[in-house]
């Protein structure tokens, strides 16, 4: 059974916007949200910049019962879930509890919560560690907390494949709807701008050490020198297209039309990386050809080797300069599992307005023959978009989003 699966509600929280309207107003004009780390003192670390969410107070949105047991990423996800329900015009009780599920992605888990409890363990003793450490750090905790808060007891889970996970979770949600679930929440949130999260990411060796917010994260630029981390993500409500129309859904943003995922060959094998095959698989799954795609939202790793792999894969499928490519994440930094769901949001909003948001701060290197949308947004009809995401260690995922009508 290959029912059409559509996005009917969105909750988004990024460094440059809380909620769909704020996020898009900032993104369409290229508003930068990368700045010095303020959540902890980063002076002694080699990387000092991040995309932080500054105007979020969890206590304004969530009951006090949830505050002592949640990491920041979970608080953001719970509030985004509330917004997505409202956006979709559905209340948690409207649909039978076993027909609704939650499939999110997580790259880090609740690092800030975990760090605080480890500090208590080593600084004060085991009796000071919160009982909630048992789950608050855990990768699956966002799915679990959203499920409990909203009474969603259908198929649920978590996908852990770094940045690619944001798309892998959406694909898994689509499978569950095709198997008969009525409504699945999907997407991802990460927020680990704390010393423990920082050193874990620094160990990967791919973080930028530039201290100029406009020069630190420059994918596809001659001066590309790593990425800047950010916090946030997006949650999407996915439903069967017919069922959504049947209940009178008013926001049908777009269809999750195709998905492909591959894993890179062993390093040093000399074989081609897996990204091109993931793109081709997603196009085939959507029943589209390269010429049908109006824009590509790039993974945009920001390191020369990885940018090269991505530019080569895009050019191989679409031809040199064959499709507009953009990376609005240059405004926010890389949001780990939250990045690709945010790009899916950007893709459907690009369709709605007929406007491709820009890749900021970047001057395209002559090394790459892609049509990168730099400087400011580009007006263009968008009917189908390809979103790419890669995860540390070789994950490649691609999703095709198509206008729903």
């Amino acid at each position: 059974m290959t029912a059409k699966v559509v996005i009917t509600g969105i909750g988004v929280a990024t460094p440059n916007g809380l909620g769909v309207d704020d996020y898009w107003a900032a993104t369409r004009v290229g508003k930068n949200a990368i700045g010095p780390v303020t959540r902890f003192d980063a002076a002694q670390y080699p990387s000092k910049l991040a995309g932080e969410i500054h105007d979020f107070t969890a206590e304004d949105h969530l009951p006090s019962r949830l505050i002592p047991q949640t990491d920041r990423m979970t608080r953001l996800a719970l509030v985004a879930a509330d917004c997505a329900f409202e956006d979709a015009g559905v209340k948690p009780g409207d649909i039978p509890e076993f027909d609704m599920g939650v499939v999110t992605a997580s790259a880090s888990g609740g690092f800030e919560f975990g760090q605080n409890e480890l500090k208590k363990l080593w600084g004060q003793g085991s009796q000071y560690v919160s009982a909630y450490q048992s789950f608050a750090w855990f990768y699956a905790v966002n799915s679990g907390q959203i499920s409990i808060r909203n009474g969603m007891r259908g198929p649920s889970g978590v996908v852990v494949s770094d940045q690619a996970g944001g798309l892998d979770a959406i694909a898994q949600a689509r499978r569950q709807i095709r198997k008969g679930s009525k409504l699945i929440f999907s997407g991802g949130f990460d927020a680990s701008i704390c010393p423990w999260g920082w050193v874990a990411q620094l160990a990967g060796g791919l973080m930028s050490t530039d201290e100029n917010p406009e020069r630190a994260y420059l994918p596809f630029d001659t001066d590309a020198n790593g990425y800047v981390p950010g916090e946030g993500g997006a949650l999407l409500i996915l439903e069967d297209a017919e069922a959504a129309r049947g209940r009178g859904a008013t926001n049908i943003y777009g269809e999750i039309a195709g998905y492909g995922a591959t894993f890179d060959p062993k390093p040093g094998s000399g074989r081609e990386p897996g990204l091109r095959r993931a793109i081709e698989a997603a196009l085939a799954d959507a029943g589209l050809t390269a010429g049908d795609i109006d824009v590509v939202f790039a993974d945009a790793a920001g390191t020369p080797e990885l940018d090269r792999v991505e530019a080569d894969a895009i050019s191989a499928v679409f031809g040199p300069g064959g499709v507009p490519v953009t990376a609005p994440k240059t405004m926010t930094g890389r949001l780990y599992s939250g990045a690709a769901p945010v790009d899916v949001v950007a893709a459907v909003l690009a369709m709605r307005e007929g406007l491709i948001p820009p890749t900021t701060n970047v001057t395209l290197s002559p090394e790459y023959d892609i049509d990168l949308v730099t400087g400011s947004a580009r007006t263009a009809p968008v009917r189908a978009a390809l979103v790419l995401a890669r995860g540390y260690g070789g994950f490649n995922s691609a999703v095709v989003v198509r206008a729903a009508d």
Binding site: P63, S64, R65, L66, I67, P68, Q69, Q127, Y128, S130, A131, Y132, S134
Partner: protein
């Protein structure tokens, strides 16, 4: 003189460690209401128990929290333990 543990101490520690459910008023008469009805599951009670032990320098048995299902029972148990501690 032994320290006394009151319902207000318990409410303060519940709020610090586990917060309060929407729709539950801890300032109403809760002395004989089951913790579960007040929205506190086993993990919330474990956290609350740990905080009481730390603050008052006492130790619960493994089943203290399972056996004392209401604020009145838990307050009484804590006070008994405090009295024993002074008596030693």
């Amino acid at each position: 003189m032994s320290q006394e543990f009151t319902i207000d101490d318990l409410k303060r520690i519940l709020l610090e460690g586990a917060g309060a459910d929407e729709g539950v008023d801890l300032d109403s008469d809760i002395l004989d209401t089951d913790f579960e009805e007040l929205g506190y599951e086993s993990l919330a009670l474990l956290e609350t128990g740990g905080r009481i032990e730390r603050e008052y320098g006492i130790s619960f048995d493994d089943d203290t929290l399972a056996e004392n299902r209401t604020p009145r029972a838990l307050v009484a148990t804590v006070n008994a333990l405090l009295k024993d501690a002074v008596g030693v």
